[in-house]
């Protein structure tokens, strides 16, 4: 009898062990530390974070740029998008010209050794270095994405928090305004704006597009504020004499930050796809400026003969969008308080053996 009770105690310990592990894990840690810890456990998100940092650093340091328009900071890459080196003939398959020289297959496997060569991504039809073009396009697309995301996030949070916190008439007015913005398809307004103002530069275009990208986020933030403002800690703060400003910034916003960050990542990946799509149909970034969507649009006809002109810009779009989506997923897991740690195989096996033992002993 005594033995049996001991086993049953053991088995309940195994079952609640999972909770105990979790509680132990977050003992004495601040909210930020917990979130960081959870985020870094999400392997795909960490890989994506590294990828996006590598892409950003690579794209923004590769080419020359001017600091404040005066000082010229040299880039590490030997060509610029304006250079016109000679088109490479020979050693390309199927009599094509300007094929990529990048080689990832080592010599002992029959390749040409790992190396970049003169034109790692090949050359376009007039000989411009395609690596330099792709880097320039990546710069443009990333800046457009960040501007759209930044403006969208700022407006969305401001409108959402005001209408969620103050409710009543101001909420009704703002939400009808959101409804009204939502009816205008982004792609139509983007095309109209891009057609008219595309030649004023990518930054201006991104700024205008950002003015139309905040609606979804504002609804989300409003919902979050509506539920948070009814919670006890807000009442407590109010009783303690906190001003509205303090309640919004110190009490509600930090609690809503998880939802906001996650949907801002979605906004960002949507923004890069919007920019490339607009550039593709000719209403986004216009030549002589370069963007990833524009590169694809310009060279899609040469797909059969020189596919690299199509592949590399596309791969960069996908890597950026995919990384951001995964980072968003990692952040959602990290911020979600209900998120339970994935139980490892070993723990599952342990608990299974324990359960079996318990059954055998019964």
């Amino acid at each position: 009898m005594a033995r049996k009770s001991k086993v049953s105690v053991e088995s309940t310990e195994v079952l609640s062990g999972e909770n105990a592990i979790q509680n132990k894990e977050i003992e004495g840690l601040s909210q930020g530390q917990i979130v960081r810890k959870r985020f870094f456990r999400h392997r795909a998100a960490v890989i994506s974070l590294v990828t996006i940092i590598v892409i950003v650093v690579m794209a923004f340091t590769a080419l020359d740029f001017r600091l404040f328009g005066i000082w010229r900071v040299p880039g590490w890459w030997k060509w610029t998008p304006e250079d016109l080196p000679e088109l490479r003939f020979g050693d390309c398959p199927n009599d094509t010209v300007g094929c990529p020289t990048i080689s990832l297959l080592p010599k002992f496997l029959g390749g040409q050794g790992i190396g970049l060569g003169t034109h790692p991504f090949g050359q376009d039809d007039i000989g411009r270095d395609f690596f330099a073009l792709v880097m320039k396009g990546t710069q443009r697309s990333i800046s457009v994405m960040v501007i759209i995301g930044g403006i969208g996030a700022t407006l969305g949070v401001i409108v959402g928090s005001i209408s969620g916190f103050y409710r009543g008439r101001i909420d009704a007015i703002l939400m009808r305004f959101v409804d009204f913005m939502i009816t205008i398809p982004v792609i139509i307004i983007g095309s109209v704006i891009g057609y008219r103002y595309g030649n004023l530069g990518a930054v201006f275009l991104a700024f205008l597009l950002g003015l139309f990208a905040w609606t979804g986020l504002s609804r989300l933030v409003r919902g979050e504020f509506l539920s948070l403002r009814e919670r006890e800690f807000v009442d407590a703060a109010r009783v303690a004499g906190a001003t509205n400003k303090r309640i919004i910034f110190k009490h509600i916003l930090p609690n809503a930050i998880g939802v906001i960050i996650v949907s801002v990542t979605l906004l960002l990946s949507g923004a890069i796809l919007l920019e490339t799509a607009l550039s593709y149909i000719g209403f986004g970034v216009v030549p002589p400026d370069v963007s990833l969507g524009l590169l694809i649009s310009q060279y899609q006809d040469s797909f059969t003969t020189r596919p690299w002109l199509f592949w590399y810009p596309g791969l960069f779009i996908i890597s950026i969008a995919l990384s951001i989506n995964f980072i968003g997923d990692g952040l959602r897991d990290a911020f979600d308080p209900r998120q339970r740690r994935r139980i490892s195989k070993k723990e599952r096996q342990d608990s299974a053996t324990a359960r079996k033992l318990a059954q055998a002993n019964d």
């Binding site: 009808r176 205008i184 704006i193 057609y195 103002y197 209403f283 199509f310 596309g314």
Partner: protein, 514 residues
């Protein structure tokens, strides 16, 4: 309720009015329709400018001109809408009437496929949470989510359409492909079905054998050039469908439902030759519709005849089985049209088109051939939109089902000893469908706007093409026509979604707080 609907409709019309007013003015000041004429060297340039100004009323300032436009549009209510004239002198209403069905066809097909596939896979990933299948599907969903649609479209054109057409010239399936397809399908089915190591490998072996066997048979018999199912295969598949549908909807334990479904499967084979005779002699949508009505009536009667108690689920099961097996017969009919279709001069053994919404050169008037032509043209654009769209459904269905499975009523259902099938299909799946239904409706309107890029890649002349034409040619009336249709659809779809939500979920009260 009525008051709520009326109030919402009033607000919606105000919103539509406001957004169309803004877009009209933005578009009007962003481009001058006479700009290209001013630069031309045509001798009667001034006359052309004057006549264009008169036709499009360009001398009226845009904010006022908007009301002239609005007056025409409000003619919808008296059955005489007037969206104004396009640049080329044709009425915008006519262009819209031609373009709208094209876009709707594309969007409808893509949304339906994306939703069905996405919900199925999403549910499987939720039931196999944190398995390898779940992880790989999550990865695939994120990957598809991040793909630019124009990029996918070009790849599909290049690899799927052109390579497949080249392949059809000499349809010899190489042995490496047979093994490769077998391996992939084995992996898929084994990770869906297999729970223990043993069942994983058993499923793997079975799926590998079946799919590579099928592919090999297709290659040897030249099935891809002259496909057909034939009565025997139709019968076998119908019986399979009968078992599958019964298992999912009421469980094989319910003998009445199983018998009713099997009877319907049997009837579909009895009707095989008569139906084909009808299809051959009286082709057209009307006969398909009449046969479908007859089919459903029969299914209801068969379902009622076999059941004594608890009739509704059995009749429902019977109807689903009947529709699916009748679908097989229809597919078989299209398969038999495949060979004559490929032999027409317009197609000439290159059946997967990359541009357009129908073959202009096709001179056949046969109903089946022209329908098949529409279907083959739908194939690539639908595939592109489906690939991008269904990633969202996978994530959403997975998230919703997991949320539902954590609810207390699921624990109660399990605790009172219901089978896992009943818990999943009756308690969890139905509640998952409530938010899915509303998302689907709202999404449908969103895709109409999103199909712009797809239409432009595949050179379809739908709403997107019209809008682009309107922007490029500074054709304000055309652009506003497209905008008016898409915006109205978006607004109405969101409204319907709200109503649907409150109809499906009694906890949501319509009119409260809205």
């Amino acid at each position: 309720m009525v008051a709520f609907v009326l109030r919402r409709l009033g607000v919606l019309s105000v919103i539509l009015f406001g957004s169309s007013f803004i877009l009209y003015n933005v578009a009007a000041i962003s481009g001058d329709p006479t700009a290209d004429l001013r630069l031309s060297t045509d001798p009667n340039r001034d006359f052309l400018i004057a006549s264009l100004t008169r036709e499009l009323q360009l001398d009226v300032p845009p904010p006022l001109r908007y009301f002239l436009w609005l007056k025409g549009v409000l003619g919808v209510f008296v059955g005489n809408p007037n969206f104004g004239m396009g640049r080329d002198g044709s009425a915008v209403v006519d262009s819209l009437a031609l373009a709208l069905p094209v876009t709707l066809r594309l969007v409808l097909a893509a949304t339906i496929f994306a939703a069905i596939l996405g919900i199925m896979i999403g549910i499987v990933t939720a039931l196999r949470q944190y398995s390898r299948f779940d992880y790989s599907m999550t990865f695939i969903a994120f990957l598809l989510f991040s793909l630019p649609v124009f990029w996918v479209a070009v790849l599909l054109k290049e690899y799927l359409a052109i390579s497949f057409n080249n392949f059809l010239r000499e349809p010899q399936i190489p042995i490496s492909w047979i093994i490769g397809i077998g391996l992939v399908s084995g992996l898929f089915w084994a990770s869906v079905i297999g729970r223990s190591r043993k069942s994983f490998w058993l499923t793997y072996a079975a799926a590998f054998a079946i799919s590579s066997g099928l592919v090999a048979i297709f290659g040897v018999t030249g099935w891809l050039l002259n496909p057909s199912l034939g009565p025997v295969v139709v019968l076998l598949l119908s019986i399979g469908i009968a078992f599958g549908v019964t298992q999912l909807s009421v469980g094989l334990i319910n003998k009445a439902a199983l018998r009713a479904s099997l009877t319907m499967a049997g009837l579909s084979i009895v009707a095989y030759y008569p139906v084909h005779w009808v299809f051959d002699n009286y082709p057209g949508s009307l006969s398909i519709f009449l046969l479908a009505c007859a089919l459903i009536t029969t299914a209801v009667f068969v379902g009622l005849a076999f059941s004594k108690i608890d009739r509704a689920p059995i009749v429902r099961t019977t109807i689903i089985t009947a529709v699916l097996s009748a679908g097989l017969v229809l597919v078989d009919q299209f398969m038999q049209t495949w060979k004559p279709y490929m032999e027409t001069d317009a197609i000439n053994y290159r059946p997967v088109p990359t541009v357009g919404q129908r073959s202009d050169l096709l001179d056949s008037t046969d109903f089946w051939i022209t329908s098949l032509d529409v279907i083959t043209h739908l194939f690539l654009p639908t595939l592109a939109l489906t690939l991008i769209g269904f990633a969202g459904y996978i994530r959403f269905a997975r998230g919703t089902l997991l949320e539902v499975l954590n609810q207390d009523y699921i624990r109660t259902a399990r605790a009172k000893g219901l089978t896992e099938r009943t818990v999943i299909m009756r308690h969890a799946f139905r509640n998952t469908m409530i938010p899915m239904a509303t998302i689907l409706v709202a999404d449908f309107a969103g895709v109409v706007g999103g199909a712009f890029i797809t239409e432009s890649v595949f050179a379809w002349s739908g709403m997107g093409t019209l809008a682009l034409q309107g922007i490029r040619g500074q054709d304000l009336n055309l652009l506003m026509g497209v905008f008016f249709i898409t915006a109205t659809m978006a607004v109405l779809a969101n409204f319907v979604a709200d109503l649907l939500y409150s109809a499906l979920d009694p906890r949501i009260r319509v009119g409260s707080g809205a």
